[in-house]
């Protein structure tokens, strides 16, 4: 990812929108007893598009914003979300993303891990409560919901960061010189090909 001030601004805006959407929209719904969590989905998408360093830094910032907005212990969400961003980025750097399924599956798995990690951290920070087995079910359901959310969220974030993505740039734009269409490549005839085609009866 090519990081310019404009792209950094866009990344910040994506994080802010994701956090506000989570607080004011997604948290209001209960699907299978669990509210969908769009923030790890957005962070995983950024990690998958921008790599490990970008994913980790953006995840850290998003976690900090979330903890500040929720007046929770600072650092908890940062630690969880920077892990999500980093692991998503490492996946992108290690494997080729050649289908729409891969980002969704990675996002789902990482969101499950994030939910479990977040709960575990809160419990270690002195929440003296009996823990139900539903915590595990919650992590799995969150993963599934993240898998579903990943398709639109990944597409939207990829579109908004398109100009910064090196590979997207190469495939998205065809070379155009001075308002002319790119010159069609002339088919070069290999030496001896006419003789071979004549022998095959193609040339009369």
């Amino acid at each position: 990812m090519i990081l310019t001030p404009w792209i950094n601004f866009r990344l910040s805006l994506i994080v802010l929108v994701a956090v506000l959407a989570q607080l004011a929209f997604f948290s209001y719904f209960s699907i299978f007893g669990t509210a969908p969590d769009v923030v790890p989905v957005a962070i995983a998408a950024i990690g998958l598009l921008g790599g490990a360093v970008v994913g980790a830094v953006v995840g850290f910032g998003a976690g900090l914003l979330l903890d500040v907005a929720l007046l929770e212990t600072l650092g908890v969400s940062s630690l969880v979300l920077l892990s999500v961003g980093y692991l998503a980025g490492r996946y992108r750097e290690s494997f080729e993303i050649d289908s729409a399924f891969a980002p969704a599956a990675v996002t789902g798995a990482l969101s499950s891990l994030a939910a479990a990690g977040h709960t575990a951290m809160q419990l270690t920070l002195g929440v003296e409560a009996p823990v139900s087995g539903a915590v595990v079910a919650d992590a799995i359901v969150r993963g599934f919901l993240a898998f579903l959310l990943a398709y639109p969220v990944y597409t939207l974030i990829r579109r908004s960061l398109r100009s910064a993505l090196v590979l997207e740039e190469a495939t998205a734009r065809r070379p155009v010189f001075r308002n002319r269409r790119p010159v069609q490549r002339r088919r070069r005839r290999m030496p001896g090909s006419r003789v071979r085609r004549a022998a095959a009866g193609e040339v009369r």
């Binding site: 600072l74 650092g75 709960t119 809160q122 409560a129 139900s132």
Partner: protein
Amino acid sequence: MYRKQVRRRRAVLVGLIVGSLILLSAHFSEAESGPLHVIQRGTATVLSPLETVANAALKPARDAVDWFDETWEARGENEDLEEELAATREKLAEAEVAHAENDELRGLLGINKDELAGFGYDPVTARVVARTPSLVNATVGVNAGSGDGVEVDDAVIAADGLVGRVSQVTATSSWVQLITDSRNGVSVTVAEPNGPQGIVSATAGEPEELILEFFSNDDEVSEDQFVVTAGWSDPATGLSSAYPRGIAVGAVTETSTGDVDFQQVTVDPFVDFQELTYVQVLTGGPERPGVDEGETAP
């Protein structure tokens, strides 16, 4: 070149993890008046109007999703409801008798909201503007803060009953720890004269129901009995409950004999926390020994 990239990547990762851990331990160990808490509350105050605007802007979308959800559920429930209607008619007579008893008990316990004002409470109406996505922390953000007279540990109620208590306050907003938050405990009593007292709390992972503890196996508790806040105060020990007496909490749904001396009672809260839109923060009120000095009790 590649090794340099790997080193840079690892350095960034280690730096961020160390930064998170430092923030975490510093924030966790410092007092509420510490610099990190002050910065956090200041930033939250700045973010609060954004949350309010986002909440208002996204309300039509939420309503649309709710409408689809309710329509879908309504179609499925229609047949069941027709069957239940016949049974409900039979129970109507019993319910009317129970309603009369309920009114009487409410009158005895004085859970009328007007009477709360009589005790010096000044209810501040606030709108729910944000929610936590976390399973363990069940909190909601409301658009009333210290500027409206809200203080930490003020009780919060809705039309149906007890919602929770204020856990964090900024100038323009507050966060309310719901009674379904597994960190929250509420002293309650069964709504009958000299009813047994216990503490109701939620289990992490089961936010839909509350567990009522410390009821002796000898205490007689039956299903559908109302549970209200106990609102105790003990000047001798200098401790008191954060909640006023007599606010409806929920109804008993299940009782079972506990392990040694206590029975386990499950309570279904009256308030539908998923549909919570407006709440009232009970500011002011009589002095609560212990609570007002920062020592919270259930």
